[in-house]
Amino acid sequence: MIRFRPRCALLIAAILFVAAAAGPAPSFADALFTYGYTPRGMAMGNAIIAGVDDYSSSYYNPAGMALLQKPSFGLGYLATGDTLQTLETDRKIEVDDMQGLLIGSSIPLPFGAFLTRRLAFGFSCFFPNGVILAIKVSYPTDPQYVLLQNSGRSLSVAATMSLRIIDGIAVGGGAQLFDNTSGRIDATVDPNGKIEATVGQELTSSYAPIVGLMVRPELWTGKDSSFRFGAVFREKFFTRYKIPISSYLGGVPLKVKLTAVSLFTPRQWIGGIGYGRGGSYHYELDVSYNEWSDFPDPNFDIDVNFEIPLLPVEFQDSKRYKTDFKDTVTLRMGGENKIFDGDNIGFWGRGGYTYEVSPVPAQTQETNYLDADRHIGAVGFGVELTGLGDRESNLPHYFDVVFQYHYLERRVFKKNTSVDADNPGYPKIGIDGSLWAVGISYSTLFDYE
């Protein structure tokens, strides 16, 4: 009989880690950073990286997949809204309400011999309604909810693998996938006024690695309840937009190169500690360090080449703006408790709280990036069904709902005297209001035939 040595597991774990960390340039941003992934996780304040044990492991902590006993599959629906308002200005800014479908699965692979209960595969997807990727870039001085307005504008897909090193300790890794847009527009109007054109556009994929570790001592001590630990690293991601427009008007070149970066989500280092008892309760506290200081200038970088014959005109390229965002620490706490345990039905109550510090500095200069510290509270309810009346189901069924509320602290910025009076944020501009999200999901565990 072949025995699996922990050293082999560590080697495979290292390979998984390196494979994940070696992914190409970072990419994309998503609604999941703002609201969370599943109703269960959201209801627990997204403080779940040490205790996640369902289809959402692939997103919250991929290491957890290898500690599952059975494959798990889930799907759900999320919807969000807001009451955000700008203060001290007449400008109104619309934030798109977002709805979308979530799908995920965590699948322990039933290998035999030394790989028995060792490897797992999973994926997590979020599909905003009607959007695969949408990029909106505003004028630099336009007031904008710079971190919130793009939440529902990108599809999110992650594929992950997980390895159980010993009972109760697992590592996982994978990548989130997204696209960059580039292309060209070549149009010529010849001296006779005839148009000839070629247009090309392409999406190229990029990946952002995710790496996780989970420790659940109760799985090797055999105790009913114990502390649980988790750690997750998520690489930053953003999407690039690059389109050069090249046109000739009767031999006169009008060339413009446009590049922009959008949908930024920061690199995250998350640690969590929880205490729980399988099938009864779980409480957790997570801390996340978010590297927002990498936030790029979200405005267009424009390179203009347009010379009008006989007119001594030189058009200006765009100006670059420093963002000076700061790194933040996010505190998340939450828990769930089985409040009723019947023969073939159980009810779960959940609650959570998150404090999200705004990385956006005071907007005293030309830009008007509006954001504020957020207090996020959530409550949720879950039903576990293993049969109806006397009839037992061959699969367990889980139904979860959540209501999440984000309260933004009122924040007003006063402009410096160097700022033009026609700046939309002059002399003062601020933000106030709230966001909310509701979600519902169904999930199940199944057996291999």
Partner: protein, 449 residues
């Protein structure tokens, strides 16, 4: 007996629900490398005569109903490569290779006592997730191979048994994205240039519906309908130029405020509506033949050349004359029938491993009419001959619980020589000859649990 009726009725209800869901999706969507190069390694080796077989992830494309033949969990991961060697006037022309990863999974469970299988099949091209290349109408291109195959395609499908082992229905969706939106730009002489962007890629879905039956123990029949797919591109870009006044001290305006409007419109990634009818005959436990015929509605094909609108308003409009581009004409493609044949022979069938040899053939008459006018949509009647091998093995050490397989295929596609004779001697393209070959290979590993 009552139970059997009840479960059949339940299966029909579930099937009807899926059918209704499909009706809500748009019938227009994007094109498909699966149409051009086939889906799955075994299916490619058997010439795509696969509507009655579809026992792997290729069934998400060829016939979702036949997926009910799959038991348990199945993952497939493979790579496909096709290299064109096409010619104009017997000289090689540069047509992009088509290569990428194809992978997917299937999961099967019993639902109301009937088999229910769900799965996905995804093709990710090497170079881009999606590419749009819009050329002028007069530019010669191999219309089947120039652009439409450079796109990610995801097929998701479910199969549901109506009568156990005898009759199934299946539904699927082919997911793609269309592209719209553009830049609104201000280029100025006195200040830095600025721009805003509202660009989006929306998901579009193309339904696939299948029916599969086994009327006799050795005979399988399959019928599959795949909806037409097509993207309509609409890319507007606007450049605003303020009034130019180089002699400020005299307040003389030398160029009034102007606006350059560039709109690129095109159709792209067309795939015809198809109805595929197939049969598979198990002549013995070691010998299988299949034959399919597919109707392809190419008459719905739109000219995929670019239609460019350039408008100059204001001062620039007075400097340059622009005449609108001549509207594109319909290309008058015709509907075709494509016959396909496949066979599989198992010369070695041991307890621990088996080897299967496969071959296939299909013939596609060209839907493109004679290119007598300005357009040059090059295509000719095509023969494809393929061969493949599949090795299936059981793991004697018990590491892998079910047989796994490694499959490979090679294919040559021969485009008959076709002479293009123009109506007018003044046609800038002149007369020319087309033809050539496309070589393709692919391999995949399939794991079953």
């Amino acid at each position: 007996m009552k139970d059997r009726k009840a479960t059949s009725r339940a299966s029909l209800i579930v099937a009807a629900i899926f059918a209704v869901i499909l009706l809500f999706f748009s019938p227009d969507a994007a094109a498909n490398p699966f149409d051009s190069f086939g889906a799955g390694v075994r299916a490619n080796a058997m010439g795509g005569a696969y509507a009655a077989l579809s026992e792997d992830i290729a069934g998400a494309y060829y016939n979702p109903a036949a997926l009910t033949q799959v038991h348990g969990l199945q993952f497939e991961f493979g790579y496909h490569y096709a290299e064109p060697h096409l010619k104009f006037n017997n000289k090689p022309v540069d047509v992009d290779k088509n290569a990428g990863w194809q992978f997917g999974g299937l999961a099967s469970q019993l639902l109301f006592g009937k088999r229910f299988t769900a799965g996905a099949n995804i093709f990710i091209p090497d170079d881009h997730v999606m590419r749009f290349l819009m050329l002028p109408r007069s530019e010669a291109r191999y219309v089947m191979y120039s652009n439409d195959n450079h796109v990610l395609v995801a097929n998701v499908a479910v199969g549901l048994e109506i009568i156990k082992d005898r009759l199934s229905v299946g539904f699927g969706l082919s997911l793609m994205g269309d592209n719209a939106g553009g830049v609104d730009m201000q280029v100025t002489e006195s200040e830095s240039s600025t721009a805003l962007l509202d660009s989006y890629i929306k998901p579009i879905y193309s339904p696939i519906v299948g029916l599969w039956g086994r009327p006799l123990r050795f005979l399988r029949l399959g019928l599959c309908y795949r909806e037409k797919t097509e993207i309509k591109l609409d890319l507007p870009n606007i450049i605003h130029i303020p009034e130019l006044d180089t002699f400020e001290e005299n307040s003389v305006s030398i160029l009034a405020e102007s606006e350059v409007y560039l709109l690129a419109e095109s159709y792209s990634h067309f795939s015809p509506r198809m109805i595929q009818l197939g049969t598979a005959w198990d002549i013995s436990s070691r010998f299988l033949v299949s034959a399919d015929i597919t109707w392809q509605q190419w008459s719905a094909y739109h000219d995929q050349s670019i239609y460019m609108v350039i408008e100059l308003e204001g001062g620039l409009g007075e400097l340059f004359d622009i005449y609108p581009q001549t509207p594109l004409e319909e290309p008058d493609f015709k509907d075709i029938f494509v016959p396909a044949f496949g066979m599989e022979f198992v010369p070695i069938g041991r307890e621990l491993w088996t080897i299967a040899l496969r071959s296939g053939y299909w013939y596609r008459p060209s839907p493109a009419p004679d290119q007598k006018g300005i357009s040059n949509f090059s295509d000719s009647n095509t023969h494809a001959i393929s061969a493949g091998i599949g090795i299936s093995a059981k793991d004697p050490y018990g590491l892998i619980p079910k047989p796994f397989s490694v499959d490979a295929y090679g294919r040559i596609r021969i485009l008959e020589e076709r002479e293009i004779i123009k109506d007018s001697l003044a046609n800038p393209s002149g007369d020319y000859m087309i033809g050539g070959n496309i070589f393709g290979v692919g391999t995949a590993v399939t794991m079953r649990f």
